[in-house]
Amino acid sequence: MVRKLTGVLATLLVTSFVIFGASYAAPGDPVTFLAGGKENLTPEYLAAVRAQYHLDDPFLVQFGRWLGDAVTGDLGRSTQYNDQVGDLLAARLPSTLGLVAYAAVLFVVFGIALGVLAAVRGGRTDAAVVAGTTFATSVPPFVVATVLISLFGVRLGWFPVMGGGSLWHLTLPAVTLALGALAIISRVTRQAMVEQRELDHVTVARASGLSERLIVVRHVFRGALGPIVTMCGLVTAGMLAGTVTVETAFGLSGIGSLLVNAINTHDFPVTQAVLLLMVTAYIVVTTLVELVQPLIDPRARRRT
């Protein structure tokens, strides 16, 4: 437990170091890079940037200060908007989290349902689910987004095409974000259920005359729950990165589209902050999933 946590902290430290150190890998002087590569920079402005990033200190001291500031919520100032980066993130985070939550509900409900259906029914249903999910993972999200906008947004007019805010606006983006995840979850569910069904305790349950329904719910699904929950957690953690494409495709204003804009306008403080946030969230959620595992699956408790 303690070992795992120190490992996670070490990974966080190294990744933040990579994100911080990246500005030094850029060609040219880090000052001009951090200032956003603009033309005609006054010496006063460059001095201000130098002071803000403590560029005159030794490298490791700079990193320590930057990390200390980031942990206390001071992420610097955007070179593009001239706002505090923290404020920019705070303003846009709710819509991104809403989108991820909506997508998570969709893929958990439909993904597990499809997986169970494929495992229980078998035959043609199974083949259809497998073929459908294979296809779903072969279409990149931005293509799905444009197809959904064309069909349901413009042709049929059921959903608004641009803008955000309401649940209605978020439906098409959430479906896009959920599609790939749904395919993975249904496949994992199907696989886990099929493996469980062949175990002895299920045969015993069947021999003792339990109804098929009860066997599936109480024995097969219960036993398969471990890998399913783990995968749901991992996929949700990765979704924050997926919002980069989806928000850009639907013109939503969240941290994903903030990252794309920041890169295209050479706004490095914002880029660093969004990357740091996404990577931290990803590492934290994947760790939580691992810690929760023994609570769901008593068999995992014994092993550790």
Partner: protein, 279 residues
């Protein structure tokens, strides 16, 4: 982007495999002979044909600037297919070398390789690539190199697992007893013997690489106008959707989807045949 193509319950029927292979062959031939196939230039602007629907003249319609979509798709296939090829070349050169090294030396080399891999895996999705692009600037070359670096750990991991199994075979010991050096055994015997399974794995990765590269172009980080890279075509076609013209996004979108599906169908079949497990 998560890993694509797991094992299907039954071997894929040859019909799907043949269709996929035929489609890919068609795309490649079309891309190579593009100037012979269409009378248009990919950048030839013709505002008279703006957003033209499907017609005998424009078989797949035209975009906002009246550029023929079929022509752009065929020329775009060049960048959209060569890009993933190059990035896989970079990734497999690095990945196979590192994976073989890790499996051969074990010990600290193995530990260092797996630590570096862990750090790269800590960045979800394409974020590692995005960081590199943020630092070195947008563009197709940077995108291909960055993706090549990002894919290297995946290939290294796979190579390592294959190489570990291969190193346990008696022929390796036989060469060693004959006094052959480690490097010579690896380069002349170990790597060539792993070739089949690595190539099978690369076919599966190709589809994913194509999707990643197209996604980067869509976000504006990869190919830049006036290139007719498929991802960029979707990006540029987006404003026309609201006007009710779907062809400029649907044609390149369908091209990406069909090519990726084809590669996955072929990849799954190769994997089945050679006993390679897609991750």
């Amino acid at each position: 982007m998560t890993a694509v193509a797991t094992l299907s319950p039954r071997p894929v029927r040859p019909l799907g495999y043949l269709l996929a292979a035929a489609f890919l062959a068609l795309v490649v031939v079309g891309a190579v002979c593009a100037p012979l196939v269409t009378p248009f230039e990919p950048d030839a602007v013709d505002f008279g044909a703006s957003l033209a629907p499907v017609s005998p003249e424009h078989l797949l319609g035209a975009d906002q600037s009246g550029r023929d979509l079929l022509t752009r798709i065929l020329y775009g296939a060049r960048t959209s297919l060569v890009g993933p090829l190059l990035l896989l070349a970079i990734a497999s050169a690095l990945g196979v070398a590192l994976g073989t090294l890790a499996a051969w030396h074990r010990g600290w080399v193995d530990a260092v390789v797996s630590r570096v891999t862990d750090v790269m895996y800590a960045f979800p999705g394409l974020l590692f690539v995005v960081l590199i692009l943020a630092v070195f600037g947008n563009g197709m070359t940077t995108a291909v190199i960055a993706l090549g670096l990002a894919y290297a750990p995946t290939i290294a991991k796979y190579t390592r697992s294959v190489a570990l199994a291969e190193c346990g075979k008696p022929y390796i010991d036989a060469y060693r007893v004959q006094g052959m050096g480690g490097l010579a055994i690896c380069v002349r015997h170990l790597v060539p013997n792993m070739g089949r399974s690595i190539v099978g794995y690369l076919v599966v990765l190709f589809g994913e690489g194509l999707m990643s590269l197209a996604t980067l172009s869509f976000l504006g980080f990869g190919a830049q106008p006036p290139s007719s890279d498929w991802g960029l075509m979707v990006k540029e076609g987006q404003p026309a959707i609201v006007q009710g013209a779907f062809l400029p996004v649907l044609v390149p979108g369908a091209a990406i989807a069909l090519v990726v599906v084809s590669f996955n169908v072929i990849g799954v079949r190769l994997a089945d045949r050679m006993g390679v497990r897609g991750i």
